[in-house]
């Protein structure tokens, strides 16, 4: 699809648009990658906690009810 050039907006017109549509954007691939990084961090932390809890249980430090 070819693109067409439009008449440039004045700064007032552009700012009026931005006031109603704040610039809060994320590239889909970047967003997906960032969410994956967060999930990776969470699963690493929960594995570490599970390992720590297991060791404490073996040493008799934890009482599981």
């Amino acid at each position: 699809m070819t693109q067409k050039r439009t008449k440039p907006l004045s700064i007032e017109q552009l700012w009026a648009y931005e006031a109603k549509h704040p610039a809060i954007f994320a590239a889909p691939r970047a967003l997906a990658e960032a969410r994956l990084i967060v999930d990776l961090g969470r699963s690493q932390r929960s594995r570490r906690h599970a390992t720590t809890a297991k060791r404490s249980l073996k040493r008799g430090e934890l009482v599981v009810k």
């Binding site: 067409k4 439009t6 440039p8 931005e18 549509h21 994320a26 889909p28 961090g41």
Partner: protein
């Protein structure tokens, strides 16, 4: 390559409007400490907050986490100097960085936006996240022009580094913004800012600068 005045100080400035009056904003590289402070300044969005506010908080947090991940791998920088050093060491490196937009509110330099970019292996700039700070969405302060001004700041950075293309993935939410900013229709899932678009963006900001100069008598930002 020696950089002119402002840029050499890691300060890419532009005009915005705060409470109906022209004001100056600055775009600069964020250090790890500044990023942590920015992160802390984001109050968790409550359940009844608008989707816009929730997105502002979520995108900023995710951008910061992504930057930290790449920083741990040695693939992110905290300053223009570091970026230039990375380029000198390997001209095909891919490097991420975060830029923070600030302005002076009530006498204090206050962050109002965050941008996550990558310098790609072929010396282009990829814009991955552009998110205003939630305080710009509150009714306490009417702050306008941060999004378009930030892109102008990126154009200045691109010019300073000899980068000829800024690009990014557009979505159904951001495509209309880029159409208006770049004067191109339609913009689908990709936006590209090259020489002609950069010139238009600079021309628009120059008009604001001239207007500020004419009304205030103070020197405006070029």
């Amino acid at each position: 390559m020696p950089l002119p005045g402002d840029e050499a100080l890691n300060n890419f400035s532009f005009h915005i409007e705060v409470n109906g009056k022209p004001s100056l904003a600055k775009l600069r590289f964020a250090t790890r400490t500044e990023l942590q402070a920015y992160h802390r300044s984001l109050a968790a969005a409550s359940n009844d907050a608008s989707q816009t506010l929730k997105d502002a908080v979520e995108f900023t947090r995710l951008a910061a986490k992504r930057w930290r991940y790449y920083a741990e791998a040695g693939e992110a920088v905290e300053s223009l100097d570091e970026l230039q050093q990375a380029l000198a060491a390997n001209k095909c490196c891919e490097v991420a960085f975060i830029l923070i937009t600030t302005t002076t509110l009530r006498g204090r330099e206050t962050p109002i936006g965050l941008t996550y970019c990558r310098r790609t292996w072929c010396h282009h700039l990829a814009l991955d996240f552009l998110a205003l700070h939630p305080r710009t969405l509150s009714e306490k302060e009417q702050i306008t022009g941060v999004g378009s001004g930030t892109v102008y700041g990126l154009v200045k950075l691109a010019k300073a580094l000899g980068i000829r293309r800024i690009w990014g993935e557009a979505t159904v939410h951001s495509a209309p913004f880029y159409e208006r900013l770049l004067g191109l229709v339609p913009i689908l899932d990709l936006f590209v800012i090259e020489a002609r678009e950069m010139a238009e963006i600079q021309k628009r900001q120059a008009k604001i600068a001239r207007r500020v100069l004419a009304t205030s008598g103070k020197p405006a930002v070029k």
